[in-house]
């Protein structure tokens, strides 16, 4: 039984209209970055008359975008790598062994899911200062790693638990140590979960701007989101350049997304739906 033709048409109208609402601002951002300022102010909705890359040239002259990009890559990649290593080790311990404190340990990690970590920013700031980590990428890496651990331990523990014990027993009979069981047998089997954890945390680290706003002062140490914050303060009237900056900031993530859109969407929602 299908909905009636009338209902169906309304459904199509609503679905595609809202798709337009979702995409159009992004399209507008891209198009505007190829216009001159005069064109934007005269006709904000029109298409560019001559595709000009001038805004991009100006942008790259005024901000060290390559630095921002490399900082973002460094911070995100190192954080995600640390999260994967630390969380999978902890999850392996919690899921595959039954020491009496394992349950408490698991619960202790889960508390982190309920804590809005931003609220600890003042003590965190003072702590980073004591450790002489403010104004270094390591302040961000440690925070992203720490705050990514709860959800990652949660997802990975769940996955480890689904694996049959026999695999492990067979490996042990063949003389595998705990570490070999973990590294050679189980890790390859939970690859999908590792992918999910990777994506969730990568998006988080890449897009965050609250922590770099507070911890990073040096221009050349800024990540993309905070780097762009400065641009908006300084070049308020140069809209084509601002649009170019926005486009360039959005681009890396959109490219990565199109390489693996399905995993991306599943990965990001996995933590919530599970």
């Amino acid at each position: 039984m299908k909905p009636s033709v009338g209902t169906r048409s309304v459904q199509y109208l609503v679905a595609y209209l809202l798709a337009l609402v979702a995409i159009y601002p992004i399209f507008l951002m891209l198009v505007s970055s190829l216009k001159t300022n005069a064109e934007i102010f005269a006709d904000p909705l029109g298409l560019p008359k001559a595709f000009s890359l001038e805004p991009y040239r100006k942008l790259l002259d005024s901000v060290p975008f390559t630095d921002f990009l490399l900082n973002s890559v460094f911070v995100s990649v190192v954080s995600v790598a640390l999260i994967l290593v630390f969380s999978s080790m902890a999850a392996f311990y919690i899921a595959r062994f039954s020491y009496k404190w394992n349950g408490i340990l698991y619960f202790f990690f889960l508390i982190g899911l309920m804590i809005p970590i931003k609220l600890g920013i003042v003590p965190l700031f003072l702590l980073m200062k004591q450790l002489a980590l403010t104004n270094t990428p390591w302040s961000l890496i440690l925070i992203y790693t720490a705050s990514g651990i709860p959800i990652s331990v949660f997802i990975l523990t769940g996955f480890f638990r689904t694996l049959p014990v026999q695999l492990e027993e067979a490996a042990r009979i063949d003389g595998c140590s705990n570490f070999q069981v973990f590294w050679k047998i189980l890790l390859p089997l939970i690859r999908p979960a590792l992918g999910t954890v990777m994506i969730i945390n990568f998006i988080q680290a890449w897009n965050d701007f609250f922590f770099p706003l507070i911890f990073i002062q040096d221009e050349e140490l800024k990540t993309i989101p905070v780097g762009m914050l400065g641009l908006f303060g300084e070049y308020e009237a140069d809209w084509s350049m601002l649009f170019a900056g926005l486009t360039l900031s959005a681009l890396p993530m959109i490219v990565v997304f199109f390489l693996a859109s399905k995993q991306f969407m599943e990965g990001l929602t996995a933590g919530a739906v599970k």
Binding site: Q11, V14, A15, Y16, L18, A19, V21, A22, P25, I40, P44, L45, M89, A90, F92, R96, S98, L105, F109, G112, L113, M114, P116, I117, K118, L119, G120, V122, P123, L124, L127, L142, I143, T145, A146, I149, E168, E169, R172, N178, F182, N207, D208, F209, I214, P225, M228, L229, F232, L242, L246, S249, A250, I254, F257, S261, L268, T269, A272, V273
Partner: protein, 305 residues
């Protein structure tokens, strides 16, 4: 499945790295904020222990109490509007996708695309679009012959907050669609078929069968929206600065907290770490209690299964 063999004590080192980082940079800061809230602490050094006085100040002393309730009411509005606009539309879209529609895969990607942008990029982009003079939205309305609808969206206290919440809905809708769709797809087909055999269709089917069976997804989305609404900071900061312009009409508790903790006119012009920490504690209990309630319900669900 106890697996003990000799010389394997090394296994106890496995959770240690995660534990250290987590305790140092999540647990310790949050619990320190609790103690900070009990001290008179303005600026550089920790002052004397003053018990709950910061909380009293927060709730009873002008202008802090006004600031608090003003920001709090905005968080509540944030939550309600997000539930209606973002989640309402998202559910409708998910239901349409669930009933199969041509281009479904494309639509999912389209709805999700804004979610890939950093919130600060979203804020800046919409600041340009909502600009009263050259912004695309007002120009668009004028072209449609609806000049009287054109507004200084972010400059007028009456429209600023709602504009920001709608931008947030634009950002978050695609994620909500995916959650609801996952919920809808987890409903066993036999159940829906059986209801159809019994003659249920259209709204009746939706109301009596689909919605109740989709409750887990709806609960999760409600909780996430609540947490997000009460932590709202980035978008407001990007679009309206740390004072929630104009005239604190877009202020939220997290923005107010930022002002108190890092200085600049949160009622005072100096940093007020003790007071800021007190606000953090209040916010912590609001968010954590919602999370705890949700964990309880999810546990219950697990038991039933």
């Amino acid at each position: 499945m106890q697996t003990k063999s000799k010389g394997n004590w090394l296994i106890h080192l496995f959770p240690i790295p995660a534990l250290i980082v987590y305790v140092l940079f999540v647990i310790y800061p949050i619990f320190s904020a609790f103690t900070y809230s009990l001290y008179d602490w303005n600026g550089i050094a920790k002052g004397e222990f003053i018990g709950l006085e910061n909380f009293v100040t927060l709730f009873q002393v002008e202008p802090f109490n006004e600031m608090f309730w003003n920001a709090f009411s905005h968080n509540v509005i944030y939550f309600i509007v997000e539930m209606i606009v973002q989640n309402g539309f998202a559910f409708i879209l998910a239901y349409i996708l669930y009933q199969k529609i041509r281009g479904g895969e494309f639509l999912k990607i389209a709805y999700f695309l804004p979610r890939l942008l950093s919130v600060i990029i979203v804020g800046f982009l919409w600041k340009l679009i909502l600009n009263p003079n050259f912004g695309a939205l007002n120009v668009f309305l004028t072209k449609l012959g609806m000049e009287e609808w054109a507004q200084p969206w972010l400059g007028d206290p009456d429209t600023a907050l709602i504009s920001i919440i709608l931008v947030n809905s634009w950002f978050g809708m695609g994620f909500a669609v995916l959650i609801f769709l996952a919920g809808l797809q987890s409903i066993p087909e036999e159940v829906v078929e059986a209801a159809r055999m019994d003659g249920a269709s259209g709204l009746r089917l939706l109301w009596k069968i689909i919605l109740p069976m989709c409750m887990p997804a709806i609960t999760i989305m409600t909780v996430l929206t609540f947490i997000q609404a009460f932590e709202a900071f980035e978008l407001v900061y990007a679009m309206q600065g740390s004072k929630g312009e104009p005239f604190y009409s877009t202020d939220t508790m997290a923005v107010y907290f930022y002002r108190l903790a890092f200085g600049g006119s949160g009622g005072t012009d100096t940093v007020a770490i003790g007071l800021g920490s007190a606000l953090a504690v209040v916010l912590f209990f609001i968010v954590a209690s919602m999370s705890a309630v949700s964990l309880y319900f999810m546990r219950k669900k697990e038991v039933q299964q």
